[in-house]
């Protein structure tokens, strides 16, 4: 059953890794070489993933056995338990993720050739990109929680390097640090979860012919144990792992790093926030889903299973994030920050989907979102590129006349994100989530939050579109250039935005096509995708499906209408004008703009506490340990003094005597060798004579 592709799944991450290693060795001028290397390896990985996908398609189905390939990695203790086995798994989940990541990744690579064209650290950038892609693919194919964790950390590292790519900008460096540390917080819990899981099940392999940690025996073993508060061990571990996911995919408490991460180059934002890194969290939950969903009655075979605690946590966190990130996004002015917050909220949706509807729902939104969010980010990048690195949407406007291709593709992305009914993938995926949330047995609040979030999404996307693409260009506050003198024309050239090069627009167009096309594979009418992921009970267009569709369509129209009302008609003349939303009651707008002051909150609590702890440690170090050390040192000093005294008055005297004699003898000897070669030679000759004489008379016979 082990086919070639399953055995050699490792090739997929290996290719970009190789590219990273090679281009790390390339000297700076070899720009083309490194770009070719990265893109070539990535597209190679894409082809392989397509092969894998086809393979997965062949033996997919409701009861498709997971295909995996395990091998013993290292022997840390004697016996069979002491063998640490790694491996990779190929199931629909992996296949879909592989294709998505490699495809979007390839497009982003190509795009960044254009975007980074003027950067002198071109090769370094591609090295990091390839490393990132390799790590991400490693996460995707891992069949072992440890392997997954390693790749996970690698992703963290790569994202750190990429966000801080322009490390000379202090803000970028700070953002990189922030991202790294924040995600670390989540990873600590993740690691705890791993350790606990290993303690419980004795294996970290997901699937291992029945003794994997995600398989029946282990699960039942875990779910039967209960820890504090009657929480099942499985649920507890699930929550720990989920915290890791929170950190990575910027869910509510740990989302702070994500908007700041916009300091990185835009392709990086696209890669990290759209396609891969943040999706990693969702993917992690999806991968370990059995751990989450398992419950005692569920094991007992009770079909109307109660929802496990872990899933509830997932859902609530998702719902909160979905709503509240959307509210923040409303009031942002940085084009990329808006997208970042919307990413947060979309991830929240995915979490809701996972929590309420199962793997398929969440994953479907993940995939669609990956495409249109990558599209949006790259479009934003193209806009920024065109407006001479201007990121403030208030300073833009009327761009659509300057860069039509970007405008159209961006519009498609916006439609998808804000859920334009029936034609765009985003609509269907979000709709599925809402539907799942609506039919959730625990509570309906997530549903309402989701709907509100959808409304806000439509609203702020409309706002962004209006500010960026409509109206007139506000980039230069100076009067428009009328006279036609050449230098003024040149000035015009320089200040007016311009369309991006082909290498940047073509990926946009491709992505736009995919964005529209994907909507065909997940509709309730023909839920091929959900069936493929194999955990779906579709009932076609039933009454409440239609009802949900109506609702979300309505919500969309409302949002767009409001947006147009606020920003479409009242065109802002200058960049400095106040935002119409600021007229909202009780200073909500300021709250939004301040992101609920969560950063400040952390500043006040966590970081201050941290600093305080550090100071305490310093104090301890200085006075307690320092004191001990000082005492020890004094004792040592005393000994040293004693030694010295002994040396001085006992040993040295004796030595001096001896040395004098030796030196006198030496000076006597040195008379013989005053450095004249010929004298030595003479001695040699004499010695020869003596020797021969001795031979003749003495030893001769």
């Amino acid at each position: 059953m082990e086919s070639w592709i399953v055995k050699n799944l490792w090739l997929i991450p290996a290719l970009p890794l190789l590219a990273a290693g090679l281009s790390a060795l390339l000297p700076r001028p070899f720009r083309k070489a490194s770009a070719t290397l990265a893109i070539g390896s990535m597209s190679g990985a894409f082809l392989l993933s397509v092969v894998a996908f086809v393979h997965a398609l062949k033996n997919s189905g409701p009861d498709s056995a997971k295909e995996f390939f395990n091998f013993a990695w290292l022997q840390f203790a004697s016996g069979d338990v002491g063998v640490l086995k790694l491996g990779w798994v190929l199931d629909p989940l992996t296949a879909v993720m592989l294709v998505m990541v490699t495809f979007v990744g390839t497009l982003i690579f190509i795009y960044s050739v254009g975007y980074m064209a003027h950067d002198e650290n071109f090769t370094r950038f591609f090295t990091f990109l390839s490393l990132f892609a390799a790590a991400m693919l490693g996460i995707v194919i891992a069949n072992n929680l440890l392997l997954l964790f390693m790749s996970w950390e690698l992703v963290g590292l790569a994202s750190y390097l990429l966000i801080g790519f322009w490390y000379h900008k202090p803000s970028a460096a700070a953002a990189a640090k922030k991202a790294f540390i924040t995600t670390r917080i989540g990873d600590v819990f993740f690691l705890l979860g791993i350790v606990w899981l290993y303690h419980e099940t004795g294996t970290l392999l997901f699937y291992d012919n029945g003794n994997g940690c995600l398989e029946q025996t282990a699960l039942s073993k875990m779910v039967t144990h209960a820890t504090v508060g009657g929480l099942a061990v499985s649920a507890a571990i699930g929550i720990l792992i989920f915290i890791g996911a929170i950190g990575k995919s910027g869910q509510f408490p740990l989302h702070v790093w994500l908007p700041d991460a916009m300091e990185g180059p835009t392709p990086v934002s696209a890669l990290i926030h759209a396609a891969t890194m943040v999706a990693a969290g969702v993917f992690l939950v999806a991968r370990t889903y059995p751990l989450f969903e398992v419950t005692l009655p569920g094991l007992a075979g009770d079909s109307a299973a109660t929802v496990s605690t872990a899933l509830q946590v997932v859902t609530w966190i998702g719902a909160i994030t979905a709503f509240f990130a959307a509210t923040i996004a409303v009031a942002q002015n940085d084009i990329k920050r808006i997208l970042a917050y919307s990413t947060c909220s979309q991830l929240g949706y995915m979490m809701i989907g996972l929590g309420t509807g199962g793997v398929a729902v969440g994953m479907f939104h993940l995939i669609t979102h990956a495409f249109f969010k990558a599209l949006l980010f790259m479009g934003a990048g193209s806009v920024i590129h065109g407006c001479h690195d201007e990121q403030d949407i208030r300073k833009m406007g009327g761009i659509r006349n300057y860069m039509p291709a970007t405008f159209l593709t961006y519009a498609v992305g916006m439609m998808a994100l804000s859920g334009f009914p029936l034609f765009f993938s985003g609509f269907w995926s979000k709709d599925a989530i809402l539907h799942a949330a609506h039919s959730w047995s625990v509570s309906h609040i997530p549903f309402y939050l989701g709907v509100a979030g959808a409304f806000l999404t439509a609203f702020y996307m409309t706002r962004q579109m209006a500010l960026v693409f409509w109206g007139k260009y506000r980039g230069h506050e100076r009067p428009a250039v009328a006279t036609k003198t050449p230098q003024l024309l040149a000035l015009k050239e320089e200040i007016e935005p311009h369309e991006s090069p082909r290498v940047m627009t073509v990926p946009l167009i491709l992505l736009a096509i995919c964005t529209v096309g994907l909507s065909l594979i997940g509709t309730p009418a023909w839920p091929w995708f959900q069936d493929f992921l194999g955990s779906h009970h579709s009932e076609g267009f039933t009454k409440d499906t239609v009802q949900i569709i109506m609702i979300s369509g309505l919500v969309f129209l409302l949002g767009v209408g409001l947006g147009v009302g606020f920003y479409g008609y009242v065109k802002r003349k200058t960049a400095s004008e106040p935002d119409p939303l600021e007229r909202l009651p009780l200073g909500m707008h300021t709250w939004f703009a301040k992101k609920y002051g969560i950063d400040e909150l952390y500043e006040l609590t966590v970081i201050r506490f941290n600093a305080w702890a550090a100071r305490a440690c310093a104090f301890l170090d200085e006075w307690v340990w320092g004191g001990v050390v000082a005492i020890v040192s004094y004792v040592t000093l005393a000994f040293a003094w004693l030694n010295r005294a002994i040396d001085e008055f006992v040993i040295n005297l004796g030595f001096d005597r001896g040395c004098e004699r030796v030196s006198r003898g030496g000076s006597l000897l040195s008379r013989l060798q005053e450095g004249r070669v010929q004298v030595y030679l003479r001695v040699l000759g004499g010695a020869l004579v003596v020797l021969v004489l001795f031979l003749i008379w003495g030893g001769g016979k």
């Binding site: 010929q678 003479r682 000759g685 004499g686 020869l688 004579v689 021969v692 004489l693 031979l695 003749i696």
Partner: protein, 170 residues
């Protein structure tokens, strides 16, 4: 034929001794170099006469062709070429001469009284280049490699030693 042998031997011996003595006594260094070249050539003839054709020619190639030239270059590079120095012999040359004479004395005495030198010469014994080549490539291949290494090292070393060191002024 023997008298011819001895005749040529005498000529060669005189050539060698004269060359060597001249090389050791002339005041002008270049003359010394030329004289020693003569001595080397004489030695080469001696080898030829001893049927050591290859060695003899190698002797000329290496000593007359290379070493003598080297010496000449060194002489000119150390400004020894122009005028003869005032003091040619070192202060205590008596000692040196005495020791040299003593060495010759004992060696000659030993040669005269050693049984080895009483042996009569064998009939023709020679070595063709082919034999030498095979010997070098089979039995003596390791020494050959070592010599190659040594020569390379000597080449590089000589270049580096004689290279003009950057003046410390800068």
């Amino acid at each position: 034929m023997l008298n011819q042998m001895t005749l040529s031997f005498a000529i060669i011996a005189i050539l060698i001794i004269a060359g060597a003595t001249a090389a050791m006594t002339f005041r002008n260094l270049v003359h010394c170099a030329l004289a020693v070249a003569v001595a080397f050539a004489g030695l080469a003839f001696a080898y030829l006469q001893l049927n050591a054709q290859f060695v003899g020619l190698a002797q000329i190639l290496v000593y007359v062709g290379a070493v003598a030239i080297l010496i000449v270059f060194a002489v000119l590079l150390t400004r020894g070429g122009e005028a003869a120095e005032k003091k040619v012999f070192s202060a205590s040359w008596i000692w040196g001469g005495a020791i040299a004479v003593a060495v010759f004395g004992v060696l000659a005495w030993a040669i005269q009284h050693s049984f080895a030198s009483q042996r009569e010469p064998l009939p023709e014994a020679g070595a063709s280049v082919k034999q030498i080549g095979t010997a070098l490539m089979t039995k003596y291949v390791l020494p050959l490699e070592v010599i190659g290494l040594l020569l390379t090292a000597a080449l590089i070393g000589a270049v580096i030693i004689a290279m003009r060191e950057e003046d410390k002024s800068k």
